[in-house]
């Protein structure tokens, strides 16, 4: 399988803390790849660099073979990489379905000229966006609350809505940050089902940080284990769960580098 995200010997230093230490890993196209590790392992820092939140201190990051090291999040979005869930963000005064319709970039109606002189084109596109949004709202199982203000949705429903916004944007690879945090079991099953469907039917690649090991086991293959800033092992969860080194990393704790 071709590689979509290729992290090559990436390091990140904050003051005297080496949070990520010559870390190399790759995410293959079409997979749901999990990233786990004890607290302080450097997962979130690595994720932040892949998502363009800040550049690495050294090393390179490739997206689909192109060097994207140091590119900003919005530039990566333009190249089909999208991160979600660090906080479920929404336009709380708009309805669920309107939130979905906000997503696609470059709508014809967004220029004043078009709005005045190309009403036909604008309306045709608007209709297409609405059709797609109606489709998506069913996939994310929020049809029953589509006219509800997004601000009134539960935390789990907001995450579903966020996944819907991902679908509207049609990226190629999605970084999912803590899908299970603060979500009840029923909604979590819905979220997992939507992720699996997007992966299977739309060929979306997912790179997932998650603390819920059972969700990781259900969703991800392969799973990459980070400890002390670099990759400890990679494989299917069943194998990882029984690996003595991994068990010890979790159980014995992973002392962070000297804190300031």
């Amino acid at each position: 399988m071709p590689t979509i995200i290729d992290v090559k010997a990436v390091s990140k230093r904050f003051g005297n803390v080496l949070a990520v230490d010559h870390c190399s890993l790759s995410v293959e196209k079409g997979t749901i790849t999990g990233l786990i590790g004890p607290n302080g392992a450097g997962k979130t820092t690595l994720f932040n660099m892949v998502a363009g939140a800040f550049p690495p201190s050294s090393g390179r990051i490739l997206l689909d073979g192109e060097d994207v090291t140091g590119l900003k999040a919005h530039e990566l979005f333009g190249r089909g990489l999208l991160r979600t869930f660090q906080i479920a963000q929404d336009f709380s005064n708009m309805t669920a379905i309107e939130n979905l319709m906000m997503v696609p970039a470059g709508q014809t109606g967004e220029s004043l000229f078009s709005a005045c002189f190309r009403r036909g084109a604008v309306m045709a596109q608007e209709a297409e966006v609405r059709r797609r949004a109606e489709e998506v709202i069913d996939v994310i199982r929020l049809g029953h609350v589509k006219n509800e203000r997004a601000g009134n949705l539960s935390g789990g429903q907001k995450k579903l809505l966020e996944l819907g916004r991902v679908m509207m944007a049609k990226p190629r690879v999605v970084l999912l940050d803590e899908i299970a945090a603060g979500v009840n079991r029923t909604l979590l099953n819905d979220l997992a089902a939507v992720v699996q469907r997007l992966n299977r039917e739309e060929g979306l690649t997912f790179f997932v940080i998650e603390h819920d090991m059972d969700l990781i086991a259900r969703l991800c293959d392969p799973v990459i284990v980070m400890a002390a800033g670099s990759v400890m092992m990679q494989g299917p969860m069943a194998q990882i769960r029984n690996d003595p080194e991994v068990i010890e990393a979790y159980f014995g704790g992973s002392p962070a580098a000297e804190a300031s």
């Binding site: 603390h211 059972d214 769960r241 159980f251 014995g252 704790g253 962070a256 000297e258 804190a259």
Partner: protein, 239 residues
Amino acid sequence: MPLLEMTNIHGGYGGANILNGVSIAIEADQIGVIVGPNGAGKSTTLKALFGLLKVGEGSVVFDGRPVTNMAPEKLVLEGLSYVPQEFNVFPTMSVEENLEMGAYVRRDSFRHLIDQVYGFFPPLKDKRRQPAGELSGGQRQMVAIGRALMTEPRLLLLDEPTAGLSPRYMGEIFDRIVAINKAGVGILMVEQNARQALALAHRGFVLAGGKNRFTGTGADLLADPEVAKSFLGGGADHA
């Protein structure tokens, strides 16, 4: 009679429960350690005990008195003291001012208690005029624990006292916790560094999914290979 007995605690924030039946019991003068994977409900258990989270079901008894859902300031008078994981010092105040803040409930002289804290944590004495925010992570943790000791608690609650510390400071903090316990203060702490913490525990509680998964002496839990494995999920009733 146990000093602390939490029985079948249920509770959470708003909608879904985080705690689904946690039971913790420790005797006076014991060290109890709560460990488990992320999201197991460890810190939430301490918060429920210290009145920072509403207990929906279950009971908390401290020294024979029911204290379920009692307010934190009342629990301090009952003999409990709590050190949160973060934001646990006043960064612009000096070390000694931080300790004085801890003594806010006292009407009598507390100089001897400050000296006692300096006895437990000698590095603080040298830095007593320095703002707590300028200290290293390990020393800030010492200030936070020292501040909690100023009310002369019978049970000290510590939420991840070694989080983010270097191995050297981790060992030092653990040594100090043992010394405080030997001086007659019961300890109940949540820890991320499970192996090291269980090694000092009289009683260990491994939580998963908001309830007890394993309970026993620290030594028993360390000897059971299933305990370490449980940190990676896959338990029977944790699906």
